[in-house]
Assembly symmetry: C2
Homo-oligomer: 388 residues x 2
């Protein structure tokens, strides 16, 4: 275990940088593509204390652009952790009681092996020679980390969006190791519309001449404009039309009226620009390509003869699925479909659709019903597992 | 009247190229920005014959990427007209009975004055020195064309999407000249979400180094990659999630399975690529900037003290508004809002929401209920106006 190495300058160099494990050539990570990574690194961060029975470990899986800094300052941006509202002492995921682990997904850019890292075989930055990855690969890497930490069973695997895909995949890949799972605002497959939006983002990145076929690292540049466009397009899908209308409507930047120029006239434009520009300071464009592709490939039913229920056959995991009524990226119906499949496999599942106009992003926001659901479910699981 | 000059090579040089009127320095087009165009050109195409009473003229207004070739071969692409399903002899908009006029909007790139044309004041291509335009400016230009054609009253003004915005604006700007109007799949204002999607497209274009600040014409290039990304993003908004799922789902290009490459694996990706690539062959990137901006600026209520009904106060125009149930770009609720406002102004309006899963694009497709509605409404208006 060592400090992870970050590719980007740290704004908060005194922030806890978390830890990293390097698995050597004898512990290759076998990938769905048939390729493997060795040696490879997984960067992670923990909160709370593992109890003597090793029974209070909760794994939190991050979304597309998230990372291991769930509940503590992000060393690159200096901003609070992305789920501090949910995780910490006394919070719904209570670190006074639970040992929380979160790792950067492989393919990511916060210390785990990814396209921006050096390929040990060549001494060069991977770029596009990094193998394509899947959600199952991400989960396989996390399982090796959990082994490394000496943890046999996870009290819960929790995540929103792509994190929810991982929570589902955990329960399917390692049913005996997952006591409970909370997939939030996700789906058992990426839809055609979602693949389409991802492809627009990838094309925007790859159209940027500063991308250089993925080998921009050695040129001291990055496809910032393309990545910003990708982020802007994606960001619209994280919100809802009513939330955008309520938050911005047609409010102008300048009260004097429209400018008859192409500079941002509407507040919603400036907001999007800010989202795009701040993203490129903390995220690697190739990681964006790899991780979106992993999401596109996700289809739990396809791995089980096309029958989603088969994925959950015999699972003892307790599931709690949460969706948000205005989420059009991972709509209520897709979340419900997972709950139905678990039911059809005679599994144990509760399903909560939370009324909110905040769209997909709701899972990151102050949503009291989500907090109450997470707190109640985790408490019930902890009690039944004898966690104090 | 003369043949319009097209900037792009004609695939179908023997196709009817339509006509153009050049208004001289004494007939400047005054714009909402305070600027004006003189001389300026409007290119148009007509179908059918104007009757002796000049009472059977119908103006069809095109959408963002449409043009005057409503019902005849497009001279640049060689493809059929964009609304041949709707307009022609015996069709719902029956050219055996009606005289159909359609013009390319100003700011466009099919023969009307726009950023790709030569600025008569400098002898250089306009580029971004072309003035920004509004939907009202487009309509003001069309009114001058209608004057030029010696037509006092239009039996109907019809259009979908941005064409519907123009139909509404016609009834508001020239209520005494518009017997009836059929705004289809549109709104009285562009929403925050729609402005956001437009801004993503514009940023994609402007991020392309081949854009050269809008002055790419003299360099023999065009921002094709950026324009393709803009088109791909927009195209997703023209469809519906269910239609994408039905049409493509997660079907792969290659039956052998996923490639673990960034080339298109899913059919929906190849479809989007095709949409992007074929668009750049026929459309000017700067026109895309100008026309999307005009749509963003559209807000009929804002021009009337914030009260939409005031826009229609005293209007004698008969309105028929059509929406599609799965259109999320111009949702049923936005169309209905216009109908309510006309009602509130004691106007004459019928409103039809057509159940379809084809999203916004439905207005261009084979939708029998739309055809029946258009045919019935136009027949009723024609009869009451004494058109044979």
């Amino acid at each position: 275990m060592s400090d992870p190495v970050f590719l980007r300058p740290l704004t908060a160099p005194d922030a806890d940088k978390g830890q990293a494990v390097v698995f050597g050539p004898d512990r290759a990570l076998l990938l769905d593509s048939g390729r493997s990574l060795a040696p490879w690194t997984i960067a992670y961060k923990t909160y709370g204390t593992l109890n003597a029975a090793r029974s209070n470990a909760v794994l939190i899986c991050h979304a597309l652009t998230g990372d291991q800094f769930v509940a503590s300052s992000h060393p690159v941006t200096g901003k609070p952790g992305w789920w501090e509202i949910m995780v910490g002492p006394g919070k719904p995921i209570d670190t006074n009681r639970l040992f929380v682990i979160s790792s950067n997904v492989i393919g990511g850019c916060m210390g785990s092996s990814g396209p921006a890292e050096t390929d040990p075989a060549t001494g060069e930055t991977y770029g596009l020679s990094f193998p394509l990855i899947t959600i199952r690969d991400m989960v396989r890497a996390q399982a090796m980390l959990i082994d490394h930490l000496g943890i046999d069973k996870l009290l819960s695997v929790i995540g929103g969006s792509m994190g929810g895909m991982q929570a589902l995949q955990w329960a399917v890949s390692y049913p005996e190791r997952v006591v409970s799972a909370m997939p939030i605002a996700c789906a058992a497959r990426h839809s055609a519309q979602n693949i389409a939006f991802h492809e627009v983002g990838r094309q925007a990145i790859m159209a940027d001449p500063d991308w250089y076929g993925g080998s921009y690292y050695s040129r001291g540049t990055q496809p910032s404009k393309g990545l910003a466009v990708a982020r802007m397009a994606a960001h619209i899908t994280y919100l809802s039309e009513p939330a955008l209308q309520r938050k911005f409507g047609r409010t102008l930047q300048n009260k004097g009226g429209i400018s008859f120029l192409f500079a941002p006239d509407f507040q919603v434009e400036s907001y999007l620009h800010h989202q795009g520009m701040s993203f490129v300071d903390r995220f690697d464009a190739n990681s964006y390509l790899y991780i979106t592709r992993a999401m596109d490939y996700f289809d739990l039913a396809a791995d089980h003869g096309g029958i989603l229920a088969e994925a959950f056959r015999g699972a003892k995991t307790r599931f709690c699925i949460i969706s948000f009524s205005s989420d059009w990226l991972f709509p209520t119906a897709e979340n419900k479909r997972v709950a139905h499949a678990i039911n059809a496999a005679a599994g144990n599942v509760s399903f909560v659709d939370i009324k909110s106009d905040r769209g997909h992003d709701a899972f990151l926001l102050d949503e009291p019903e989500m907090f109450a659901t997470v707190r109640g479910f985790l408490n019930s699981v902890a009690v039944s597992e004898g966690v104090a």
